[in-house]
Symmetry: C2
Subunit: 476 residues, 2 copies
């Protein structure tokens, strides 16, 4: 199952008729661009793949703009690619068949904060940090935190999560409802603000994780949480990855309601030490965060400290005051950029497997042995409470053999995760890059079911075509 | 939006060819029945609707039996109605177009308990109590508890929840993966045992809540939880429903991780007193349960006690020892049967609305005023931490005017809940009975999207036809 890198040629590009461009310009005189710099910016994401440019970019300001654009594009059989903050990692935004990029970053209004119900409704371009800024005086927060300051529309579309998912869940659990523009221009609202419902098919969950292939998400209603009365943090080091991961497994199995537990390997710690001029022990390290009442976070930290000691962890330091917590966690927060500096000028190709937690130690230890034989620097970080970890394979974008080596390593990691009952992607999504693995994971019949759903909602294949799975209009 | 009662005539019944019966008998010589008593048992559920009998009943023992039956029925255009434990409440099991009832209760094997991963995989006929029996020595439990001892397949199909959902979520959050037999006989596995995944469309969540209309669920993988170190319970009374509900709202908004909080109104308490020969104060009552460490459950109970006092609650009694907890909670556990005895020979038509918690007090208080003017006894119980409550409207099944009155009251409750941003069904599902309300809730475009998904997976409409929404094969 060594799948090739995604297509980067233009053979499948569809025509973008001048009449469509004229109609779009007439409808959006101030907000349509065909400038190459704008198109280049919208034809790539944070993946290492070369950009594939859309033909034009629309800066949408409201759901009705999206509806108008979709109706026009549908008439001319032209693709629509929703664009949030450009932070996806698997080539989701590349215009493999050309088309119109619909930039939703201007749809950045927080429409409602219902503090009593612990919900907020936002336009899809609102980023997670913008939402949390808006919540500052409410005593509430929105916990989902992918590394980037992604938009809530994009986070919904990729079923994102991050460091808090072990306690608060992912976008799957935290989106209550959506406004979606369908491929024929109809606008639907899914879900409600009720905490649960058994009223018909779960359209919300169908669009969460659909990566723009079924419709354009323009508004999102999410769950909020009371800011915990107390927060404490802890950091500790281990002799081996296996020891660190086994401490996490025991923590989860005991039901300690840990809010975050992050793993950083020795190479990533070395990167952080260089980047931030620190002297942390260069060994596998766990970062914990506990949320609750004063008494409860103390109790959680003490329980975890005992577990860590049982697994020969050392240097368990814990802190409750904000500035001390920041000091402990800064290393983790800076890990991504620190890792990139291990190899100047590099880009990272990042694995994203997630396995049942009983298999996590085996998966990480086997992966580590594999990486040891590779010429690429490959630091590892992970949201290990979920069984999810990332290998950042640092490649020189000018050297195709390094991309090939990274793809080889990635294939082996995915193959291992699937063999252990896991998934090829815990939180980044499929995009262009994992289309082959999706079939390995679910089987061709299940992927055919996905194709049938796509056909039901977007028979003309104008919604972000060429992503998640191959789809032929003729064959369906 | 006063929607009529569901169809109970046989005009839409499809032919059940003798050739099909012969083929089914040949394939399942020991496990096919056409006895009227068996068909009657399988043509109804716990709703007050008259039975509509299937033509035959298959007692399946494995996924492959279901596959064989579906393939045969598909060839002859005959409906398939999955049957778990018969405890659905909205007419889900009535054979409105005739067909084959596939009884999965014999598929009652627990296939795997992965204690380290906090997951279990079971055949669809395993009931929640059977699963918890199997878990007894593992220190783990499965929390979802609809009133009946429902099957996990049926609970998945209706997106069930129960008293623990406020802490542990519903079937939506707790099903990790499914084995499903599709309408053409293909068998797919959805999801994985990983705690999260972003790998393609969320087929698991599509089938959870699909009420047998998209396929037959034959195996279910669910999340398990460590049994809490300590459990405590509390009960207290209030002068008014509004006070009780406002105490709940404050508890949720403060983020107290209460495991259960159940509301029982004065009439239901009166029923319980009669039924169990008790002398509880006949006023609106809350039952709480707290899960955690010893220190944490104590802290939770103290916080809630203060909130209760702020809302003029009285008689706050709390207990940690199992027998004391049972004594406090017995009243709640017996509520349903106690309520039925308020009116000998009655059946209950039960509302199931769920609203954003800020609207719960308004919704309950307005509903109470409405019920006061009705001739029917209408006790109220509720999973109020979720914003979900049930009015049990007790009707004499021999009196159509009482069913009409109950339908009138139900329509008013649903209309109120939708106006307040809620849903017509929190946990019972749509079945036959809420098809009209589904359109009121989601709008016809969203219901058309559901229809398009149905068409994609079951174009011949053999999977539990006539449920959730109207569907015409010709029109799609």
């Amino acid at each position: 199952m060594n799948h090739p890198a995604p297509p980067t040629d233009l053979r499948t590009r569809r025509p973008f008729p001048a009449e469509l461009l004229a109609e779009l310009k007439a409808a959006f005189p101030e907000r349509l661009s065909t400038a190459e710099a704008v198109r280049t910016h919208h034809g790539r994401d944070e993946s290492p793949f070369d950009p594939l440019l859309p033909d034009a970019v629309l800066f949408a300001q409201q759901t009705d703009d999206v509806r108008t654009a979709v109706k026009l594009c549908a008439r001319y059989d032209v693709p629509i690619i929703p664009y949030g903050n450009g932070s996806s990692l698997e080539g989701h935004l590349l215009a493999v068949e050309g088309g119109l990029s619909v930039d939703l970053s201007g749809m950045n209004r927080v429409l409602a904060i219902d503090a009593e119900d612990l919900t907020a409704t936002v336009q899809a371009g609102v980023s997670r940090k913008t939402l949390n800024e808006a919540l500052r005086d409410t005593g509430l927060f929105f916990p989902i935190d992918p590394g980037a300051d992604a938009s809530l529309g994009g986070m919904s579309a990729t079923r994102a999560s991050g460091t808090n998912a072990v306690r608060y869940g992912t976008m799957r659990e935290n989106v209550l409802g959506l406004t979606v523009v369908l491929a024929d221009g109809r606008v639907i609202k899914t879900g409600s603000r009720a905490r649960k419902s058994a009223a018909g098919y779960d359209l919300t969950r169908l669009f969460v994780g659909s990566e723009g292939t079924l419709g354009v998400i323009t508004e999102v209603t999410v769950r909020l949480y009371p800011q915990p009365e107390a927060v404490s943090a802890a950091v500790c080091s281990f002799a081996s990855m296996g020891d660190a991961v086994r401490a996490v497994i025991e923590t989860i199995q005991l039901g300690v309601p840990v809010a975050r537990v992050e793993f950083v390997d020795a190479l990533a710690i070395r990167a952080i030490n260089r980047h931030s001029n620190l002297t942390l022990p260069e060994s596998p390290t766990l970062f914990f965060e506990f949320h609750g009442t004063e008494a409860s976070v103390k109790e959680q930290a003490e329980t975890v400290q005992q577990i860590v000691a049982d697994h020969a962890g050392s240097g368990f330091a814990w802190a409750t005051r904000p500035e001390e917590r920041s000091r402990l966690w800064n290393a983790r927060h800076n890990a991504y950029f620190a890792m990139l500096q291990l190899k100047p000028g590099c880009r990272a190709l990042t694995t994203d497997v997630c396995v049942p937690i009983s298999r996590l130690a085996q998966c990480v230890v086997e992966t580590e042995a594999d990486l040891r034989n590779s010429p690429l620097p490959c630091p590892i970080v992970g949201h290990v409470g979920d069984g999810n970890f990332h290998v950042a394979m640092l490649i020189d974008p000018a050297k195709p053999e390094e991309l090939a080596e990274a793809e080889r390593l990635n294939s082996r990691v995915v193959e291992r995760a699937l063999r252990l009952g896991g998934t090829c992607t815990g939180e980044h999504g499929v995009g262009l890059h994992k289309m082959g693995f999706l079939v390995d994971e679910h089987g061709s019949d299940a992927v055919d079911v996905m194709r049938a759903l796509k056909h039901a909602l977007d028979p003309g294949n104008i919604m972000n075509p060429g992503k998640i799975f191959s789809y032929s209009r003729a064959a369906s």
